[in-house]
Amino acid sequence: MNSVLETCSVDCHPASVPDYTPLEELRALQLLRLQTVVTRAWQHVQLFRERMNERGLKPEDIRSLGDIALLPFTVKSDLRDTYPFGLFASPMKDVVRLHASSGTTGKPIVVAYTQEDVDVWTSVVARALAGCGLHRGDIVQIAYGYGLFTGGLGAHYGAEELGATVVPTSGGQADRQIMLMKDFGVTAMCCTPTYFLHLIDRAAELGVDMKNLPLRAGVFGAEPWTESMRKHIETKSSIEAFDIYGLSEIIGPGVGCECRRHNGLHIFEDHFYPEIVDPETGDPLPDGSEGELVLTTLSKQAMPMIRYRTRDITTIVPGKCECGRTLRRIARIGRRSDDMLIIRGVNVFPSQVESALLQIEGTLPHYQILLTREQGLDQMEVRVEVTPHMFNDKIGALQELHTRLQGALDRVLGIRVRVSLVEAFSIERSEGKAKRVIDRRTS
């Protein structure tokens, strides 16, 4: 093993071998796995079977990879509607792990893993980290949240599989994160890009120059970020910054990741089959066109996802990557086809804000969500127009209303937001409708 590491470039890490599967072999494997997973879902998931029946489809109708377009889509609300276990294809005795993410109506979305699923997840994260040039001997600090969120544990298992030394700090406590980075000689960091920006600023305040630390790589994900943010991070900290992509519904982090060429994110296609579709019509689009990313889990046991609509807008980067991987790449995710916002890594829908306001007032006042970035951290402000119904000429009553709104929003969204009471008609309207979200997060 050591000789391999010494003589090969980082892209030749043993964990990365499947990344270089010859195309013909990869497509044959994908077809076989697609047929198997469709059969599995058909046998064990009622919703999928019903949708296949509506189309007059049987698993054996899938004869080529192109036939995937015949299959029905799965959408986020399917997971909610079947909460908690309705889409499971394995009995609970075979499920070794459950994760959950926030939902729009208070109920979370539940995902399940068999031991085999955990092993696949571990292997794809290991391949992602290997592609970032990490290996045994690296000290990897994981500052994604551990728990029901897939980020922390997903990154953790993958980094251990790689043979790296894992420092599982989870999120929060910036000063301690910086102290450990320094004292342990951490060489790689896994967290959200905005959290790392915050750590850079905090380190400077503490008199720690990130450029002088052994830290050389950052694997950042769980929220969209930009090239200018990458430049900023790399300049301020002298590290190489990588974009990693994933979503709990598919497996968690490790669906795709950049290699050292930084020209798109390789999808681990032997496990996750990517398609780009027109977000309006659902029609498949050729590689190179921009559209919604649709993913099918090719090997998932506990919870197969067939043609899952990610709502993430991207393109499949045409052509082969200079790194030699045969895996197709997607461009960085820049936006979504629905109105979901990602704030400090947490998914937030404007409809959640509405439901919180409705809870308090019984009627929906005009409101606006204002997103900014302060010291590298996303800030969310909810501006609420004071209606005659809400108004009271006692300061105490208005402050009490303010506190109740704040409490309801914090509870429903699961993140701290700032609430502002503003004058009636002060939120600009176009065609009578208030613009619900203003996103001023640049950089």
Binding site: V386, F391, D393, K394, I395, L398, L421, V422, E423, A424
Partner: protein, 142 residues
Amino acid sequence: MKIQQISLFAENKPGHIAAPARLLAQGGIDIRSLYLADTQQYGILRMIVSDWQKAAEILETNGFVAKTTEVLAVEVPDRPGGLAEVLGALEGTGINIEYMYAFPVRGDEAILIFRFADPDAAIGLLQTAGVNLLASEELLKR
């Protein structure tokens, strides 16, 4: 005895009081008293005006959130102890003052404006104590 006071919600930002003031001026409304209760973020502008119905209509048609509240106006001599005497009449009665403000008028008098949770009970007590409660038209003449 009860006086209609108009309250207006205003954000605590430069210029946010100018607009309603201008509208009332254009409508020929005289602002007899004005008091701003504020927090860091927003304030409540409380006004007693020459024609409250017209003022409320002007503000509402122009998109302001306004509310009318019943308050009491008390005239006291503008000298040490003037306020204390009125408050003394309420002491120990369980009558709660939700808020109050005061302004001097011509001569040696001051006017106190009170909002009570139960204005009718307060009127009874104040009148018994011989406090000079002003009716709306009296206040506007001061």
